[in-house]
């Protein structure tokens, strides 16, 4: 009976992984997550990959830029605004 209450689904376990990352997981949910990870290899793998990914997210970037023509047009607009 007690154990039943401790069992969570993979859907909840993967959600708890994110809440743990932000230190928003209660102690009882932390216990439930630990128990789940002890028996579920898929969620264990999910957690490892999640922690790896979280460290990579800060490298998300873009190399987008304005063309030289667009830059010239934009600066011209600013300049004519400056003259007013």
């Amino acid at each position: 009976m007690m154990l039943d209450k401790m069992m969570i689904s993979c859907e909840n376990a993967t959600l708890f992984v994110s809440q743990k990352e932000e230190h928003k997981l209660s102690i009882s949910n932390r216990m439930k997550l630990l128990l789940h990870l002890a028996v579920c290899k898929f969620c264990r793998l999910f957690e490892q990959q999640n922690n790896f990914l979280t460290r990579q997210f800060k490298h998300i970037s873009t190399t987008l830029s304005l063309s030289e023509i667009e830059k010239e047009e934009l600066q011209n607009k600013i300049n004519s605004e400056l003259k007013k």
């Binding site: 800060k58 490298h59 998300i60 970037s61 190399t63």
Partner: protein, 186 residues
């Protein structure tokens, strides 16, 4: 004391402002418009510039406010997206909440603690984040690029904390699935 030099704004700041805006709107045209609006708002407010922060930070401050406005305008359509998000986890989990066989996480054939050295990984990661739906991407960017706390994100976007967790959960599931599909044994 810092001064403003609007005659150099485009040369000095347009690309960095554009990149910042693009990562947060995922739309080339919107990003360009936001950069232009930022410069014009700057021109209208030159008198309020006291020189206590750098010109660059001042322009970014204007842009950040424009982006928040941009999000607010989208708020109502984003709320409809929340409703559909609440239902769709069936892509990954069965009725009992267990992984579907088709969604079982697979080994990526690499260590999860070593840094990634290949540029290709980041290309794929960028593409995978661009594929997130609008609301998910906005929350994701606020959390991981702007490093905002969840309470602040909820307040700015006017979403509940349970909405927030569903969104973050979905972002993670989608990005890891997309990477798994496209990033084979790098």
């Amino acid at each position: 004391m810092n001064i403003l030099e609007p005659q150099l704004w485009v040369k000095n700041y347009s690309d960095s402002l554009l990149r910042f805006a693009f990562l947060r709107t995922n739309n080339n045209e919107h990003a360009k418009d936001l950069v232009q609006e930022t410069f014009f708002a700057g021109l209208r407010n030159v008198e309020t510039y006291k020189g206590d922060i750098s010109e660059k930070n001042w322009l970014f401050f204007i842009l950040k406010n424009k982006i928040i406005d941009h999000y607010r305008k989208k708020a109502s359509s984003l709320i409809t997206e929340i409703d559909s998000l609440m239902e769709r986890s069936a892509d990954y989990f069965d009725d009992a909440g267990h992984w579907k066989e088709s969604a079982y996480p697979k080994e990526w054939g690499r260590s999860y603690s070593d840094p990634v050295e290949k540029e290709e990984f980041y290309d794929i990661l960028n593409k995978c984040t661009q594929k997130l739906s609008e609301l998910i991407r906005i929350v994701f960017v606020m959390k991981y690029l702007d490093e905002k706390e969840s309470e602040e994100i909820c307040k700015e976007l006017q979403i509940t904390s349970s909405n927030y967790w569903v969104i973050i959960h979905r972002a993670k599931l989608q990005i890891r699935k997309c990477l798994e599909k496209n990033w084979i044994s790098i």
